[in-house]
């Protein structure tokens, strides 16, 4: 586990000199970093340091005020909203702090969504979703809606949804932030282990240093800049 902002292998994801402000609040000031294919990177730092903003820029959820984000050499930050949407659908997966599951779909249906969006048949998508939920230990809750299960189960389903379609990159924003230690451990290990098995790149934001053992590299942010530059 290194503390550098630069990846050691060929870059899949690269940020160059990213700057972002929310009105008068500066979130990012000239952040640059690279993430290699298959690498698991953690973004850490105190509250308000710009971790989530950086993750959202990398994932194309937010367009930075200046600077560039490249995925496999394509500049994500210049893509249209529709193209960024396709990127999320076809190449990314997400695990956010509160799951962000669709409240009126069952866990299985939520997990099957990325497959359905890629044109998979409903039966097949649900079968694959059930299989993955089973693998992640929440098969018994597959037919329930998010509001009817615990936070830990919701997060496991979110992990399943992020992984089910075989994305190239999974972005995880405080995936264990709303969970107790035991559940947090399970979710984090599921996310990292399954990703590593499938060669998926992971960018995870966390403020919990006990979760860092499973990652390849830690990038520390302070006041909107990487620690070395801060």
């Amino acid at each position: 586990m290194s503390g550098s902002a630069d990846a050691s292998g060929p870059l899949l994801l690269e940020a160059r000199d990213l700057a972002l402000s929310y009105g008068p609040t500066v979130a990012l000031r000239g952040v640059s970093l690279g993430v290699a294919r298959g690498e698991i990177v953690a973004l850490v730092g105190p509250s308000g340091s710009g971790k989530s903003s950086l993750l959202h820029c990398l994932a194309g959820l937010v367009v930075p005020d200046s600077g560039n984000v490249f995925l496999d050499g394509t500049e994500v930050s210049r893509l249209s909203d529709d193209d960024r949407t396709r990127l999320r659908r076809d190449r990314f997966g997400f695990v956010l702090q509160f799951g962000h599951l669709v409240p009126d779909l069952t866990l299985a249906e939520n997990v099957s969504l990325p497959l359905l969006l890629r044109g998979r048949s409903r039966v097949r998508a649900l079968r694959e979703a059930h299989a993955l939920l089973d693998e992640l230990g929440v098969a018994e809750s597959a037919a329930r809606c998010p509001g009817e299960v615990s936070g830990g189960q919701q997060q496991r389903a979110a992990v399943a949804r992020a992984l089910v379609a075989g994305p190239e990159v999974v972005f995880a924003d405080e995936p264990t932030g709303a969970l107790d230690t035991a559940n947090g451990d399970v979710v984090m290990s599921l996310l990292t282990e399954r990703s590593r098995e499938r060669g998926i790149t992971v960018v995870v934001v966390t403020h919990d240093h006990s979760r860092l053992a499973a990652v390849d590299r830690v990038i520390r942010l302070v006041d909107g800049a990487t620690a070395a530059a801060a």
């Binding site: 929310y22 009105g23 008068p24 609040t25 989530s52 903003s53 959202h56 959820l61 937010v62 394509t74 893509l79 909203d81 529709d82 193209d83 949407t85 396709r86 990127l87 999320r88 659908r89 076809d90 190449r91 997400f94 956010l96 962000h100 599951l101 669709v102 409240p103 009126d104 779909l105 249906e109 969504l113 990325p114 359905l116 969006l117 890629r118 044109g119 809606c145 949804r161």
Partner: protein, 718 residues
């Protein structure tokens, strides 16, 4: 860039997601549909008023006797005697056949012989149970008036057979036909034509506002759902389509429900309409165009409203990282309001320069823009009031309220829209009242004030009839009003406003003498020389009539109905009504309009209360975490309730005041355009509406307090 070529989500998936969304929000969906359907029913009822009024006028015209212009030896002799009984007007006609005529009034298959009656079904039922009325209208019922002769199913009317000699003695002319073309040409009263749509709008707008509030309730959950779908890869277009389909479906079902309810029940319920003589089912025309229009407009409006409300969720897949400083573009919104007000003010100068029609158009456009302006300016007005409060208050409830309204001004002010439209439209609606007060109804009111409400007015044709009436033990006095002439459709009694009207038309010393005499004699007992009357240049006056009016004053202790019976039995004809009833008959059309207006206002206020309560409830639900947190921090429930009330007041208050002022302005301009600038605008009445509208937040908050208490209960699980 992408590995897949498809842009949007598969339609089947979108449909499944839409169906699931509707199923999970079933309660809200059903509530929206019912409320929207209610609005559609009101709209359709408003559209049906004009055809009903026209059909009733046609019936009245068709049964109006047309006396022969020259002497005729074949036809019917008819003399009207309108009376009232226990608040209901009874319209009677004495009838006799002349020369074996086959002429029949509409609805009659045979003419009753002397001593016989043909009555309306409603009167037949009343006569069967009421001996006092049987004494008043003696005779054997031999038939029932059919539909073509009746304005409504509850109309109380009869034809009483008498001998031709009796009516000839009264100077009655022979009727040779029925149907009055002039009457038909009068068509529908202008107040129905003008007021009907306003009444309909008065009620429809708050109902639609409530529909919008309920449709948008739970927006937090919807935003979460849409943003989650965006996150997994639905495009902004997909999500927009999804939300629009759900909302449009709501609108379609609401329109279908409302249309279906109206089509299936309007004709069944028509006879029971508690206004006037009721409505014949066949007079109710189903406004198919309105139903189709509602079916198109309501889905469009609901989809637009939901679409605008969901912009943030569409554009922000995480729905939590909205850039700060979202602009309300307050200037543009207020510009619409200001343009509306300026156009209203410009209506009067427009009349002076271009004439009345362009001026009415300018006023109409001004009103429309003002109403749109009120809808879209509610947010900025609420935000400014919140800022003002925020700067001045240090009390927790005020701060919490100002913060909440300031952060979500549009959402908070949504509840104000329906009521502000109500207050604005009421300004226009209530300005019809002073207009109507200047009509004959006002003259009749004057008469009632002069001779007392219990005095009975009737027509008599001979002095012996007067003597007979005066001899009745219940009669205190009989005042004769020797009338020298009467105008078509006008009262034979000249009252003060009538005198002024004559005065306005008179020139020359002789005419002035007539006016002076009329003024001196006021209402009754004037006996003028025919040559003086002839000098009054009133073209509408006909030749002197043989009948004259009497005013019968009952003794205070005697029942007025007994005296009326005596007058009728003695041969009193015409409108045998007390002065109060006479005033009510004169005001019948305006009364229906007034009652309908008041009913619409009260119902609209109730709907406004429902929409406020729904809005406050949604707001409480949305703020539950912060409210609970405040409670944890030591803010009491009373203070939390106070904060809710202040939120309501901040959101609603400023818009209501602007609506009140602009409604009054519309009223003043409207009255001026009608050449009635001397009339006072209904400022007090509109102020009353404003006060009622301002009280509604209090009631709505009180209704929501129990829910608030449950939500902040610390032991309850979240």
């Amino acid at each position: 860039m992408s590995r897949g070529g498809r842009q949007g989500a598969p339609p089947g998936l979108l449909l499944r997601l839409a169906a699931r969304g509707l199923r999970s929000g079933a309660r809200q969906f059903v509530a929206s549909c019912i409320i929207g359907g209610l609005g559609v029913i009101v709209l359709l009822a408003g559209l049906a008023v004009l055809p009903i009024a026209t059909a009733q006028r046609d019936t009245q015209a068709a049964r109006t006797p047309q006396p022969a212009s020259a002497a005729s030896d074949s036809g019917l002799l008819l003399e009207t005697a309108t009376s009232a009984y226990r608040g209901e007007t009874i319209r009677g006609r004495e009838v006799a056949v002349v020369g074996g005529s086959e002429l029949r009034p509409p609805g009659l298959s045979e003419i009753p012989r002397p001593g016989q009656l043909v009555v309306s079904p409603a009167l037949r039922d009343l006569l069967a149970v009421d001996p006092v009325l049987r004494e008043r209208i003696p005779g054997t019922v031999v038939g029932v008036i059919a539909r073509p002769g009746l304005v409504g199913p509850r109309e109380l009317t009869y034809y009483a057979g008498v001998t031709a000699a009796e009516l000839s003695a009264d100077g009655v002319r022979v009727t040779t036909a029925f149907a009055d073309p002039e009457f038909t040409d009068l068509a529908v009263p202008s107040e129905v034509r003008m007021g009907g749509p306003f009444i309909s709008i008065t009620f429809f707008l708050p109902v639609f506002s409530l529909f919008v509030i309920v449709a948008l309730a739970g927006s937090e959950r919807r935003d979460r759902r849409l943003s989650a779908l965006r996150l997994v890869g639905l495009t902004a277009r997909d999500v927009r389509l999804l939300a629009a389909v759900e909302a449009a479906l709501m609108g379609v079902v609401a329109a279908a429900l409302g249309g279906l309810a109206f089509v299936t029940s309007a004709r069944t319920l028509a006879p029971h309409v508690p206004l006037g003589p009721g409505v014949w089912p066949t007079d109710v025309e189903i406004p198919w165009t309105g139903i189709v229009g509602a079916g198109l407009v309501l889905p469009f409006l609901s989809a637009t409203v939901v679409d605008r409300a969901g912009r943030r969720a569409r554009s922000m897949p995480t729905a939590g990282h909205a850039p700060a400083g979202t602009s309300l573009r307050a200037g543009r919104r207020l510009a619409v309001l200001a343009t509306g007000v300026v156009l209203m003010v410009a209506a009067e100068p427009t009349r002076l320069v271009l004439g009345l029609d362009p001026a009415v158009a300018v006023l109409g456009l001004g009103c429309l823009l003002t109403m749109i302006g009120l809808c879209i300016s509610a947010g900025p007005l609420a935000r400014w009031s919140a800022r003002a409060v925020n700067r001045r208050t240090s009390a927790v409830p005020g701060l919490v309220a100002a913060a909440q309204v300031g952060r979500r001004p549009d959402q908070s002010a949504r509840v104000a829209i329906g009521m502000s439209l109500l207050v604005f439209v009421s300004g226009l609606l209530l300005s019809f009242f002073p207009l109507l007060s200047s009509s004959d109804a006002e003259a009749a009111r004057d008469l009632a004030e002069r001779v007392g409400g219990r005095a009975i007015i009737a027509q008599v044709s001979s002095a012996s009839t007067v003597s007979e009436i005066a001899a009745d033990e219940g009669v205190a006095a009989v005042i004769e009003a020797h009338v020298t002439g009467e105008g078509p459709g006008r009262s034979t009694m000249l009252t003060c406003p009538g005198i002024e009207q004559v005065a306005g038309d008179c020139t020359g010393p002789a005419a002035r003498a007539v006016v002076a005499a009329l003024r001196a004699n006021q209402v009754v007992d004037f006996d003028l020389a025919p040559e003086l009357v002839a000098s009054v240049p009133l073209a509408t006056w006909s030749e002197p009539v043989s009948q004259h009016s009497i005013v019968v004053l009952p003794r205070p202790s005697v029942d007025v109905e007994a005296v009326r019976t005596a007058v009728l039995r003695a041969g009193g004809t015409g409108e045998v009504l007390t002065t109060n009833e006479r005033r009510e008959v004169r005001m019948l059309e305006t009364k229906v309009f007034r009652e309908a207006t008041l009913v619409a206002l009260v119902l609209a206020a109730l709907v406004g209360l429902a929409s406020l309560t729904a809005g406050v409830l949604d707001s409480v639900q949305r703020q539950r975490r912060s409210l609970r947190m405040l409670h944890v921090m030591g803010v009491g429930r009373r203070d939390l309730g106070g904060a809710l009330l202040r939120q309501c007041a901040l959101a609603v208050g400023p818009t209501l005041v602007v609506a009140w002022v602009s409604g009054l302005l519309a009223s003043v301009v409207f009255l001026r355009l009608n050449d009635t600038s001397t009339l006072t605008p209904p400022s007090t009445s509109v102020l009353g509406v404003l006060a009622a509208a301002a009280a509604l937040p209090l009631i709505a908050t009180a209704l929501v307090i129990p829910r608030l208490n449950r939500l902040v209960q610390l032991r309850s699980p979240e």
